[in-house]
Symmetry: D2
Subunit: 366 residues, 4 copies
């Protein structure tokens, strides 16, 4: 099935494999008149680039983006924006062995089950490099949203047992440590934890949190196209995400109505606001004007050097140890991917909302 | 935006408000030749019916379903199946007061923000009665899937602080206690906890878990249409769900690769299997042949009798106490809703998968 | 496949068979705040009602519509509008014989080929009664568009060899003759032609033309979602339509660039206009501000009393003569169906267009 | 709006402008295991290449395609196939003048009306070069369909007043004359007609016809997703197409039921067949097993050297004469575009049809 598109009015379509000729995305439905250049996209891609610290794979990926269409004289034209990153530093020989067996925690087996065979080089389409298209498109979405007053703060919330504290939250810290944590002390502790994992040929999971500020109220839909439902799909579609939460998330299961309900109040501008934000900025599927807060739980990198049991394509049980250049944790690199998917979802919902009222239509067309 | 449809090849479209003339669903894309009668649907609707215990609203809702189209001589014809439940026992006067203010934790404010006004009777479109359409469609999806050997076991996993233990898991218990818990002891403890909540004019959250057995491997897609992503959207689109998990879910954030990876093995039938199932039956977005396990965290009923602060439409801060007939917990009634949304998602993915390989097409058409 | 929905942001989903319990439509994505009552819908349905002249089937179809959801206190709420027409006057015994053979020109054989069997009563889902849902939804779309200054003039352009002349065009005539022709003389000649057809147990084809006035320029999209492409799909999806044309239509094949190009000019309001309208109001897939003109060629009613050759389900060649109450021509009743499908398409395109420019978004959200 | 995708299960997304860096398409939902190489695509692109006769623009367009993803070891993998053609021979200076005014018959004005400005170089996104993506994707679709026994015969049916006769139909002729006509004599007459047009600085319209053989019965859907409706959208979305017909097309308007109905019979293989094919192979929206026959009416190239009246962006009425290298007729180059769009539509419908019956699903999954 055609499963490489996301979004409806603002829609992205990604393509590419880890070790093919390249990867890219077609961003369709971008409004005309947005100033856009390669540097806008590159900044985002650089946030997911490996090789920036000892906690990411030492692979070099230049990931230089080219805009192939949809921009003229520095502005988007309203037609599809084709963005491509050509592969340059892929070492196919590193991966040839994995053609014959199924790596635990990877999609090798399920690809074979579905399609009969797979491009095994570097994980093919199920490689983390697949996210290049998402992030390139996310850069466009964030640029649109910024111009509408909507901003994103996304960071590593936790790594293994180490969680960034709410008390020490410092957004400026996020880009100052290689783990993208908003808490310098937690970042140090997490680094120590990762060192220990690596020493044991092991890897770690963690969480990414995203705060979206400046949202108008009423964005999203009441039933299947709830804003939280689409954010859930967007974020769960990122490889390795196993849990998704809005606001208090899974903790609501232990809460009571008295503690979980957010009282409405009138803020200093005379507008309706909420005294607390357990809801994470969404009520009944529509934004309520508070910050949107979402969280993704990401599993440990499945590629570990420690010996593992698995089976090969001949149906034999074997022991393997995965070589190659792998991240001991993918969470820091996933930060920009989560932000990108959230932004693409929000942009699409904002566009769809414009025809919600007859008075909007009448003002627009008369 | 048209936000009341879900699914692609197997697609449902729901309609209706709590206190309007009725609610219903159009099930489109159902294969021809499925035996189907009203009793098949009614059984499912009865699982979400209130008034069955003291832990659900004492409202009587008969919710008798009618099949209006798409079935001829006892079998589906391949054309849309229109299912309707006409409202009979709605007491609009109970709700008239809420027209003027915004109930905390409800969609009153966001509806007004989006649409300018709302059908305030009984929550209108954001009422829990909206799920009638989902469940009626879910009955059709489950019937299809059962014939393909795929079965669902869905239950209340936890209520407030009380969790059904894995050790005492007993599927037969689920329908024996009014809370749909698979653990008799936990059900008793949960009942006691709910009594305490009700005494304090309070409500409780909880979790629903769903196990899907008999899934072939390779169902779902590798990128945006990952099976887990669509399940996440499906389940997060149910009102009050704030967290969604697959397999070990949020716990993976604290896990390591060594503990989280599921080793592949050859089972007694000679087929590829997994020794553990931390992944919850999905790898790289596609089913791996193990049981699919998903979990939804559901917030406490926002309608509580305790006094709450809010604002009215004139912009004044006021105190309210919500009267009417409300569930102290919605989790037990949500069990069948989660199952329904999961089944609709799985059916759509199975249909989409049929053209995954050229050899499938060649066998089918030649 | 789910093939009973049409549209994207403004989307309709129809259901129902000729002789089932009823037929209907769910209109999703209708903006909130549109005044709407059953009479608005009924007026449209009455335009397709049979039994109004000797040129339509003498069957009585009351086709009284009920609004089941989506309207509150006389206005649309933004949630799905469910419209139903319950069947009352169906005589199933008239049709029982056709269960065993395939009527020429009908969908009996293709239904069996696809689904294995069919609801044969009155044509089931392939009956002309299927258009009830389209027309009920069309009434909503036209009401929206009228409020934006967009109007429709739709009529029978030709019946068999008789064509309404451009010279005698009189819009007021359309509702004054039972054939909906905008030319009294042509209507008389067409009536005489139909009498002759009926005398020979025969039926006639014809054309429907639709003029859409008041369109803003720039509606539609440049590539696959061209306004003309979506209008083509909309109109060709009406049973019995075999040809679709925009502007000069098929005649362009014989034209030259000199005669077919429409010169641009500045009109008396100082706006860009065209001196002629061979293009039919659409250039490059987007409306150009001139009237949109489209035309559908409709085949003769396939149900004729004259003897025909066909085969039965046992694979025998047989002669048949179709009894029952059939229209000698369906063109006049198709007029409102063509208008409805055009209006649904235009509404969807107008909604989608609102995010075409960044400056639109910035004005809307800031 | 995202308007550059077409299809549902088999979906293509095109991008690119005439004079940008290139053009391309992402083909998503292609089944795994189809042998595919660049030569397969190139053959199709060469059929739309200009400069092959004096009746097409003397521009050289190499249009060499590259497969960037989705193919591994010579076979499709089931993941998106990205196909790109980089622009090499574009002469932007030829077109710079058209930035300031609106060419009659072109999309210049409607682009400005929608988006506020346009990439005016060579027509930008509304250039005929936009069809490169369609044709590259069409090559994939045709290759799939050929393996299922479905074949396409597509040709120029008429040019101006000259029509290829049915009597002299000779499929072998199609590739033997530069006009792709299946009738040598007509091709000669058409050539003479074109010479005369060119001498008058004029251009000509014409028709393309496509015959699809080997279709199984039952493909397509009964209501909005009728096979003819989707073919209509597919073909009308090609720039310059103003009329679309199935089977007898517009002629049905003058026909009677006696002459237009196709009698069913039993063919020599004992299968249900039709004695005639006025229906063009589709009944009730579904294929009936006969050849599908469709026809597109294409307007004359709007770019003519003769003087024309128009307006410029300053609102002044001016006279222009369009220079540059233009086709006096685009019909021969549109032949492969029509075939491509038809094939993409048919492939999508075949995939969607696989879940039409429960017995299909049961056989597939058990």
């Amino acid at each position: 099935m055609a499963g490489s598109s996301f979004g409806n009015i603002f829609r992205i379509t990604t393509w590419g494999e880890s070790h093919g000729k390249g990867l890219g995305v077609v961003v369709d439905g971008c409004p005309a008149g947005l100033p856009l250049c390669e540097e806008d996209i590159q900044k985002f891609l650089n946030r997911r680039k490996p090789g920036q610290s000892k906690y990411t794979t030492p692979r070099k990926e230049d990931d230089a983006v080219e805009i192939l269409s949809g921009v003229f004289e520095g502005k988007t034209t309203g037609t599809p924006i084709s963005l491509a990153v050509y592969n340059r530093n892929q070492q196919s020989k590193d991966y040839s062995e994995i053609a014959s067996y199924y790596r635990p925690g990877h999609a090798d087996y399920t690809f074979d089950a579905k399609y009969g065979f797979r491009d095994y080089r570097g994980g093919g389409r199920s490689s983390g490099r697949e996210t290049i298209g998402r992030v390139a498109a996310g850069a466009v979405a964030v640029k649109i949203l910024n111009r509408l007053g909507i901003t994103f703060t996304t960071y590593t919330k936790s790594i293994g047992p180490v969680t960034a504290s709410k008390k020490n939250f410092d957004a400026a810290q996020i880009t100052k440590n290689p783990l993208y944590m908003p808490d310098a002390e937690a970042a140090e502790n997490a680094a120590a934890y990762l060192e220990a994992c690596m020493a044991e040929l092991n890897s770690s999971g963690g969480t990414v949190e995203c705060i979206i500020q400046g949202m108008p109220a009423g964005i999203g839909d009441p039933v299947f196209e709830k804003l939280n439902a689409n954010l859930a799909k967007a974020v769960m579609s990122i490889g390795a995400v196993k849990g998704f939460e809005i606001g208090d998330g899974c903790d609501v299961a232990k809460a009571t109505g008295r503690t979980n309900n957010d009282a409405f109040c009138i803020n200093t501008d005379g507008a309706v606001a909420k005294k607390t934000n357990h809801a994470g900025g969404i009520l009944g599927g529509m934004s309520d004007g508070s910050d949107i807060l979402l969280r993704a739980s990401i599993k440990p990198t499945p590629s570990i050097t420690a010996t593992q049991q698995t089976v090969n394509k001949s149906g034999e049980e074997i022991d393997i140890s995965i070589k190659g250049r792998h991240d001991p944790i993918i969470v820091p690199r996933a930060v920009v991917v989560v932000e990108s998917m959230a932004a693409i979802t929000i942009a699409d919902a904002l566009f769809a909302n414009m025809s919600a009222k007859m008075e909007h239509l009448e003002k627009f067309y008369k």
